[in-house]
């Protein structure tokens, strides 16, 4: 733990409030009888797709292609997860199995 208990609690309080704010805002901002601005509606449909792509990159941000294992275990695991997921459509299998497979790779192979 690199944060003090107090720092961690403050940080989590802000995260909790921010999370609630994102969920509650539409109810205050867009009363049912008012029309939602078209651009907001467009962002609402489009951004979830872009954001998940961003989060995949975020998860991989500390992977170095030029040192250590060169991102090879990550690449292998991600290909395996994609194939299993396209094949079986089972989120538990893909995420659970994929994580265990990656753990095996970094603990025993690389």
């Amino acid at each position: 733990m690199i944060l003090t208990t107090k720092e961690a609690l403050i940080l989590l309080a802000f995260i909790a409030l921010t999370t609630f704010a994102t969920r509650a805002t539409p109810f205050f901002l867009f009363p049912p009888h008012k029309k939602t601005p078209a651009f907001v509606e467009y962002l609402g449909k489009m951004l979830p797709y872009a954001t998940i792509g961003m989060l995949v990159v975020y998860c991989l941000k500390d992977v170095s292609l030029f040192s250590g294992s060169h991102g090879i275990p990550e690449a292998i695991a991600m290909i395996a997860i994609s194939l299993v997921h396209i094949w079986k459509h089972n989120i538990l299998l893909s995420v659970g199995g994929g994580t265990l497979f990656y753990m095996f790779l970094v603990q025993y192979v690389f």
């Binding site: 989590l12 509650a24 995420v95």
Partner: protein, 229 residues
Amino acid sequence: MKRNALKVAWIHTVPVMMGYLFLGMAFGILLSTKGYGVFWAFIMSLFIYAGSGQFVAITLLTSPFDIVGAVFITLMVNLRHLFYGLSLLEPFKRAGKKKYYMMFTLTDETYSLLCSAKPPKGVDEGWFYFFIGFLDHLYWIGSCALGNLLRTAVPFNSKGIDFVMTALFLVIFIDQWKDSKTHIPQFIGVGASVLCLIVFGASRFLLPAMVLILLLSATFRNRLEAKFQ
């Protein structure tokens, strides 16, 4: 009235219970490997109650103290929630005071249930929705705490378990890829992020990436809007 609503609501929540059991336990285990015990798993799942958000919160707990950065990335990760409410404005309005708690419980999973599950005739819609959110919340708290306790009781080599977050987002990415008519948003998300990662580096790429994503979204609006009708 309440008992009736609970009786018909819980059936709908079973698939979410299975998913949460797995994801929540993974969260609890990962949190435990960073030195945070069950107290932390409990308060985070009780007060934050977000899958992706809590995983990101773990990385924030293990980085230097930075409130602004934490608020920003939490906003980014949960931005999609801004739009969940749009389709639930009417039913929540009729739910009275408990609607505030119901807003709080609007995770991806709960939202998807509320979109698909409809209360049978004679069952109060407000309580029906309330109990779906409430039960999901209980499953989540239980799973996060359980995973954390399990890891403390049975220590094991957890190297690489952080990858559960990557796997989760990758799987969501694939599902979205399959059900969308255009892949431009995904290219924008990944492309802008990779570009900013190269230019700004791992610790500061997120803000510029988000700005670039918004700019590109505005640029491609005419082409994309028709596809999302």
